[in-house]
C-alpha cells in the first residue's frame, strides 16, 4: 500500500475511534467536570476583578461568582439580592437591610463592612468603571450586623437601580492579599465558585455548596470565548455547547429548523440612533466648506426620520431581531413611554419637508459609523445611506473602526453619525447625551450633537431629586418627550438580545444582555 493510502486509513480509524469515545462519554452536560455545561460567548471576560470593567461579557462571567447588591428584573425594576430591602430616610440617606447568613466562597461570613466598602471601592478605585453609579455617595455607617446607612453628597433617587451594578467583594481579604491576587482567584458570595481560567478565553466554574440561595441546575460550567459566529453555531448544533450568543441573523433559519436548539430573543437595552449636528450654522465637519448646515432646520431632521424605513432594516438585515424604536428610551427603563408610536416611513412627506426647508434637490453630507462595534453596523449605515438617497440626499457613508470613530465624533468631527447607546437609567442617560453641554459640571459629555434645551434640562434636574417614583417618572417622560419633539436624535431601533439555546435548556435572554447560567433550568 502506498503511504498516502496508509495515512488515509489511519485517519479514518482515528475518526472512528474518536466518534466512539464521544458516543460512550455522552452524559447530561453539567453533571460531570469532564462534560460541563458550556456557554459560547462572542469574546471573553478580560478580568475577574468585578469593578475594573463595565462590559457585558465580562460582567456575565463575573456575576456567576459575585452577587451584586440588588438585581434588575427584566422590566428594569430593582429586586433584592444581597440587600433584601431598602428605605430612603432623607434625600441624602438610604438604609439597606442585608441578607443574613451570606458567606464568601472561602467560608468567611459576609459583613456589613464588606458591602459598604465594596461601594466605596467602586467609587474610589482609579480604574473602576463603576464610579458614576456611586459617585454621589459620601460614606456609610454600620447600624447593626445586617443594616447599613449610606449617606450622600447629592441626592440619588435611583440608588437601588445603581446598586444592581455594584458587586459585593471580600474587602478584608483584598486588603490582606491585594487586588491582583484576588483577581487571579476571585472569591464572591455567588452561586458558582472559581475553578480555573485563561484570561479572555475561558472560565471553569463549579456550583458552590455554601451559596445562600437555590443551588443552580448545572453543577459544572465552562464559559468560553468563541469569536467566530459560524463556529458558535456549529458548536451549538453539534451539541458541544448549550448556549451560543450572537447568532448571525442569516443563520436564524438554520437554528430554528435544526431540531437541536431554539432561538431565544428579547428586545435589548441598546438604542441605535442617528446623531445630527445641531450646533454649527455652517461649516459642519462632514459637509463641503462654506455650506450651510441643513440639520439646524427641524424640518430636515424630521424628513430624515421619515425617510428611514426601519422595519425594512429590521427584516432584511436582522431577520426580525430588532425592535423599531418609537423613542430614545428602550422598554426596560422607567422613562419608556408605551404611548409613543414610531415615526411612520413616508418618503413622499419627507421630500415635501425637504422642499419646504429649501432643499428640493437635496444636499451632500458624510454619514459616519463604526464597522466593528455593533451588530452589522456598517451594513445598516449603507442601508441608511441608500434610503436617504431615495429622497434626494447624497450620503457618503464612512464606516470606520471604533478606535477612530469615537474620538473623532467626540471632537465634533461629523455631520451625522450612527451609533448605539445603552444606559442604566434615564437620568444618567440624559445627563450624558441630552443635557446642554457643560463639561465642568459633568453634563453632556456624550452630547456630541450639542443638543440644548434648558427647559427639558430643568425637568430632568428636578426628576433627579424626586424620590417619589410616580412623580419622577412623569418628569422624566416629560423631558424626553421634549427631546423627541425637538428631534434631538433620531432613534431607529433597539438591538434584540438573541441567543441559541439547546433544546433541553429553559432560559430567556435578558434585556441587559447578561448570560447567567445560574438563571437557567433543565427542560
Amino acid at each position: 500500500m502506498n503511504p498516502a493510502g496508509r495515512f488515509a486509513k489511519g485517519l479514518i480509524g482515528a475518526f472512528l475511534l474518536l466518534g466512539l469515545a464521544a458516543a460512550t462519554a455522552r452524559a447530561a452536560p453539567g453533571d460531570s467536570a469532564a462534560d460541563p455545561f458550556v456557554v459560547a460567548f462572542d469574546g471573553g471576560a478580560t478580568t475577574l476583578d468585578p469593578i475594573m470593567r463595565s462590559e457585558t461579557t465580562t460582567n456575565s462571567w463575573q456575576r456567576e461568582i459575585f452577587d451584586t447588591i440588588t438585581m434588575l428584573s427584566p422590566s428594569g425594576v430593582p429586586e433584592p439580592r444581597i440587600a433584601t430591602s431598602w428605605k430612603n430616610l432623607s434625600p441624602d440617606q438610604w438604609q439597606l437591610t442585608l441578607r443574613q447568613g451570606v458567606r464568601f466562597q472561602d467560608g468567611t461570613p459576609m459583613t456589613p463592612d464588606d458591602v459598604g466598602r465594596s461601594i466605596l471601592d467602586a467609587r474610589d478605585n482609579p480604574k473602576s468603571q463603576y464610579r458614576e453609579y456611586v459617585s454621589d455617595v459620601s460614606g456609610y455607617k454600620v447600624l447593626d450586623e445586617h443594616t447599613i446607612l449610606v449617606t450622600f453628597a447629592a441626592p440619588d433617587p435611583l440608588f437601588p437601580t445603581h446598586l444592581s451594578e455594584i458587586p459585593v467583594m471580600p474587602e478584608a481579604l483584598i486588603a490582606k492579599e491585594g487586588r491582583t491576587a484576588f483577581a487571579s482567584h476571585p472569591i464572591g458570595t455567588g452561586p458558582y465558585e472559581f475553578v480555573s481560567w485563561l484570561a479572555q478565553d475561558h472560565l471553569v466554574l463549579e456550583a458552590w455548596s455554601g451559596f445562600w440561595g437555590a443551588a443552580p441546575a448545572f453543577r459544572f460550567v465552562r464559559l468560553e470565548s468563541v469569536p467566530e459566529a459560524a463556529t458558535r453555531l456549529a458548536a451549538l448544533l453539534s451539541g458541544q455547547v448549550q448556549i451560543a450568543e450572537g447568532i448571525d441573523p442569516s443563520d436564524f433559519g438554520r437554528v430554528r429548523t435544526s431540531g437541536r436548539a431554539t432561538l431565544s430573543t428579547v428586545p435589548g437595552l441598546r438604542t441605535m440612533y442617528l446623531g445630527l449636528d445641531v450646533w454649527r450654522a455652517s461649516d459642519s465637519a462632514g459637509m463641503a466648506q462654506g455650506t450651510k448646515n441643513p440639520f439646524m432646520d427641524p424640518r430636515v431632521r424630521e424628513a430624515v426620520a421619515e425617510a428611514i424605513n426601519v422595519p425594512l432594516i429590521r427584516d432584511k438585515i436582522f431577520d426580525g431581531a430588532a425592535t423599531v424604536a418609537a423613542q430614545f428610551t428602550p422598554p426596560g427603563l422607567e422613562a419608556y413611554d408605551p404611548a409613543l408610536k414610531p415615526t411612520p416611513y413616508d418618503p413622499d412627506a419627507a421630500r415635501k419637508l425637504l422642499a419646504a426647508a429649501g432643499y428640493p434637490h437635496g444636499f451632500s453630507f458624510r454619514l459616519d459609523a463604526t464597522n466593528d462595534r455593533y451588530l452589522d453596523d456598517s451594513l445598516v449605515a449603507q442601508a441608511i445611506g441608500g434610503l436617504l438617497g431615495e429622497i434626494g440626499l447624497d450620503v457618503k457613508v464612512n464606516a470606520i473602526p471604533k478606535a477612530i470613530f469615537f474620538p473623532q465624533t467626540d471632537k465634533g468631527d461629523f455631520t451625522v453619525y450612527f451609533a448605539g447607546w445603552s444606559g442604566t437609567d434615564p437620568v444618567s442617560t440624559w445627563d450624558a447625551i441630552f443635557h446642554c453641554r457643560d463639561p465642568e459640571a459633568g453634563f453632556g459629555h456624550v452630547n456630541r450633537a450639542r443638543y440644548c434645551n434648558p427647559k427639558a434640562d430643568a425637568l430632568m434636574e428636578s426628576a433627579s431629586r424626586t424620590f417619589d417614583d410616580a412623580k419622577r417618572i412623569a418628569l422624566e417622560r416629560a423631558a424626553y418627550a421634549i427631546a423627541e419633539q425637538d428631534r434631538a436624535y433620531i432613534p431607529l431601533y433597539y438591538q434584540d438580545e438573541v441567543a441559541g439555546v439547546a433544546k433541553d435548556v429553559a432560559w430567556q435572554p435578558r434585556p441587559d444582555g447578561l448570560i447567567l447560567v445560574w438563571q437557567m433550568k433543565r427542560r
Partner: protein, 306 residues
C-alpha cells in the same frame, strides 16, 4: 567565533529595539485606547482619572522612555483590560500556538513528503498530474473556508470532532489540518522537484547499477541531498506559521497568542501588542538559529565549513 556571536546578538538587539520603537509609534498613532476602554457613559473627569491610572496622560516621549525602561527590566506593562502584567498573559497563550504549529508541520511533512516522492517516481503519470492538481487546490483554498467546511462536516454533520476550544488532541485535529493543508501542497511540490533533480544524478545511476533495491536508492541516496532545501523551507514555514495562525485560532476558538494579539489590536491594548511583537521577534530569531544548526547536522560540508 565569540566576536561573531557577539556581533549577531548585538544586531538582533538593535533590530528588536527598532521594531519595538516602530510599533510603539504606529499604535500610538492609530487611535485613543481610552475611547475604546471607557464605557460611553464615563465623563471627562473619570476618563482623565483612568488615563492617569494607566499613564496615558503623559507626553508620548515620556511614555516611550518608561516603556523602554520597563522592557530593560523585563516588564512590558499591565494590560489595560485584564489589569495584569501583559507578558505573562501572552506567554500563557504560547503553548497552544506551538502545539498547533508543530502538529501542522508534522502533518504537512508526513503527508507532503510521501506524496512528493510518489509524484517524483512517476513524473507525468496520472497520479502525478492528480497530485499537481491537488497542490493547486491546496494553495488556493482560503484557510477560513476550509476551516468552516471541516467544522460543518466533522462537527455538525457527523459530530466526530469538537468545533472549538482545547482540551484534548481531538481539538487540534481540524485546526492543525487546516493549517497544514496549504503546506502539504507546498511540501509535495518541493520534494517532487528536488527529488527529480537528484534522481537524475550519476550517483543514483551507480546505486541502481550496484543492484540496490529501489527503496534504498530513493530513500537513502536520492532523498538525502534533496532534503537540504527542504530544511531551509521548513524553518521559513515554521516562522511564517507562527505569525500565520491567527485565522485558524479564531475560527476554532483556540487560545493561541495570535488571537490574543489580534483582539488586543482591536482594543488598542498597547502592552499586549508590544509583548507580542517582542515574543514574535524573539521566536523568529530562535527559528533562524535552529535552521542554521540543522543545516550543519544534515550537510557535512556546512558543518566542516567547506
Amino acid at each position: 567565533m565569540a566576536s561573531f556571536l557577539f556581533g549577531r546578538i548585538v544586531r538582533a538587539l538593535v533590530t528588536l529595539w527598532a521594531v519595538l520603537t516602530l510599533v510603539f509609534v504606529l499604535i500610538h498613532a492609530s487611535g485613543d485606547p481610552i475611547a475604546v476602554l471607557a464605557p460611553q457613559q464615563m465623563n471627562a473627569a473619570e476618563r482623565a482619572t483612568l488615563a492617569a491610572a494607566l499613564g496615558l496622560n503623559l507626553p508620548l516621549f515620556v511614555q516611550y522612555l518608561r516603556f523602554i525602561a520597563g522592557v530593560l527590566h523585563g516588564n512590558l506593562g499591565v494590560s489595560y483590560y485584564s489589569d495584569t502584567p501583559a507578558l505573562p498573559l501572552l506567554l500563557a497563550r504560547v503553548p497552544v500556538t506551538l502545539e498547533l504549529v508543530g502538529l501542522a508541520i508534522v502533518i504537512a511533512a508526513l503527508v507532503g513528503v510521501p506524496l512528493g516522492i510518489a509524484a517524483a517516481l512517476r513524473p507525468g503519470s496520472l497520479a502525478d498530474r492528480a497530485l499537481r492538481g491537488l497542490s493547486v487546490l491546496g494553495a488556493s483554498v482560503p484557510t477560513f473556508f476550509l476551516g468552516i467546511v471541516l467544522i460543518f462536516v466533522f462537527s455538525v454533520l457527523t459530530n466526530l470532532l469538537p468545533a472549538s476550544g482545547v482540551g484534548s488532541i481531538a481539538h487540534f485535529i481540524m485546526p492543525a489540518f487546516t493549517l497544514a493543508f496549504f503546506r502539504i501542497a507546498f511540501f509535495t511540490r518541493l520534494v517532487r522537484s528536488a527529488l527529480l533533480e537528484s534522481l537524475a544524478q550519476p550517483y543514483v545511476r551507480t546505486a541502481r547499477a550496484k543492484g540496490l533495491s529501489e527503496a534504498v536508492v530513493v530513500l537513502k541516496h536520492a532523498l538525502r541531498p534533496a532534503a537540504l532545501p527542504l530544511v531551509t523551507v521548513f524553518g521559513l514555514q515554521f516562522g511564517q506559521l507562527f505569525a500565520g495562525t491567527v485565522i485558524t485560532e479564531t475560527i476554532f476558538a483556540l487560545p493561541g497568542m495570535n488571537r490574543l494579539a489580534l483582539e488586543a489590536l482591536f482594543r488598542l491594548d498597547y502592552p499586549i501588542i508590544l509583548s507580542y511583537v517582542l515574543v514574535a521577534a524573539a521566536m523568529f530569531v530562535a527559528i533562524n538559529f535552529a535552521t542554521d544548526l540543522a543545516y550543519g547536522l544534515i550537510d557535512p560540508r556546512v558543518r566542516h565549513g567547506a
